[in-house]
Subunit: 296 residues, 2 copies
């Protein structure tokens, strides 16, 4: 018999993920702060939970997909939170990108009630969420992952056990360290080319064909060529991830000069009111440094 799932958080990622679970035939209840955001899922057959505590009392698996660390802390440990009705055998899967340290702390609090918390942040964006093709990075006990693997297989094409509690989050942050550099790569590379008077279409095609290739160059480079600053991933969310990275790197004692610089330049976009643009807008900061007007 399929597990009863309660899904908490109906954002741009959570909504399509919950819809995929419903499509796969899982009995599903949902909760989110603003009930109207749950309407599409309720219309599709999901039931409503009045609180995270109620979600935890009726479900076998509680999945959270929330913006930041305090949101997850509130839902798991706050008043009317999951811990109020957490019990032996309940599995919580937190698919948000949040602090690895807070994750480990919360997993211990839940474990005291017999509830396992898996951290399972994702990569692949909204399209990956809609198509059920996310890459899911899981931290926590391997045997708990085995119990819920069929659930996660509905959401992603790659479900990887990365180590004990927090290691899913740490892997996601390592991923984001790399991603911000590939964004810097296209921002500085295309700004250099543009300023030198090169044809950007040709430069993009040639660089995509060789050793400079990155996923960001292909996807975000094409957006820059089209003058399209709409988000594949928003500046403000990248900045949240960068704050988590720098906080974690401070704790582990790993200086990250390149990541810190990229964060400062991205912060400049946010300070200019462009936090909801896509991260490819970073090229406009390079253009500004050269005294050129931004693309909008």
């Amino acid at each position: 018999m399929k597990e009863r799932i309660s899904f908490i958080g109906m954002g741009i990622m959570g909504t399509p993920m919950a819809a995929n679970l419903l499509k796969a035939g899982y009995p599903l209840t949902v909760y989110t702060r603003t009930r109207s955001k749950a309407e599409p899922l309720l219309a599709a057959g999901a039931a409503w939970d009045d609180s995270p505590a109620q979600a935890a009392s009726s479900a076998d698996v509680v999945i959270t997909c929330l913006p930041d660390t305090p949101d997850v802390e509130q839902v798991l440990l706050g008043p009317q939170g999951v811990t109020e009705s957490a019990r032996e055998g309940l599995v919580c899967i937190d698919m948000s990108t949040i602090s690895p340290e807070a994750t480990r702390r919360m997993s211990e609090e839940l474990l005291a009630k017999g509830t396992v918390l898996l951290d399972a942040p994702v990569s692949g964006g909204q399209i990956g969420a809609v198509e059920g093709k996310l890459s899911i990075m899981v931290g926590g006990p391997a045997e708990a992952l085995d119990r819920v693997r069929s659930v996660l297989d509905c959401l992603g094409r790659a479900v990887t056990h990365c180590g004990p509690s927090g290691c899913g989050q740490l892997t996601k942050l390592a991923n984001q360290v790399m991603v911000i550099h590939t964004i810097m790569s296209i921002a500085e590379g295309l700004a250099f080319a543009e300023r030198a008077g090169l044809n950007l279409e040709t430069t993009h095609a040639v660089t995509c064909a060789g050793a400079a290739y990155s996923h960001s160059l292909k996807v975000l480079g094409a957006k820059i060529l089209a003058g399209d600053m709409k988000p594949a991933f928003m500046v403000d969310l990248q900045l949240k991830d960068l704050r988590l990275i720098m906080e974690t790197a401070r704790q582990t004692g790993q200086p990250l000069p390149g990541t810190a610089l990229a964060m400062q330049l991205l912060q400049s976009l946010s300070a200019q009111g462009r936090g909801r643009d896509g991260t490819q807008a970073l090229i406009d900061i390079l253009r500004q440094l050269a005294g050129k007007m931004a693309s909008r």
Copy 2:
């Protein structure tokens, strides 16, 4: 009838490139400062030129593949250089990575004698040179490229006209701006993961599968996992390209803060006597910043 080609520069790139021209049936003469380096080509059927001037007097096409700007200036404009016997109809193809500004200046000097200079730097490394699968970025008159395209097709799988004289070099430099960031990407990303206690094999596999993907992550990341610091591309050659980038960026007025930072960190490797290591050795600078011993 096939063009008579003279190839100047028998380094790790030039030697296999000249060999491919010989295999394709072109009448070939060669010249290089240290004659012993030409022995393999002479044994394979190439003839010897006593100087660049002699090369230019007998060939239809002169190809140079040399370490740096002064080497090309010496061969083209110096005593016993190409200009001494340059003439109407001769085409010079410079496949070195050198200064775009010097390239434009030299192309004008040669043009005064009716000789066209194409800049045609390559990407793809020694393996690409051996297999004839380089990406070749060409600057100069399009009609001159058309005349020698069949020659370049023997050396690369992609021959792209990037614009007038110097634009091949500029495109190569834009490519290298991007490449250095993808190297920073894996150095900081894997150092972060390692310091946080993650399994590096898992982290590499997961990040390769998603939005963090880059050619450097796949190829150089695998070398880091294997503790292999042998060069795919040497630190000192990357530093030479970075000097050309920063010189050009200063001339065009494009600040490149990320590239400048990456250059400083790579400079540290060179200062530690590791200029002949591969660029993936950059991770050891991150390890040192965290107080860890280098991998060797």
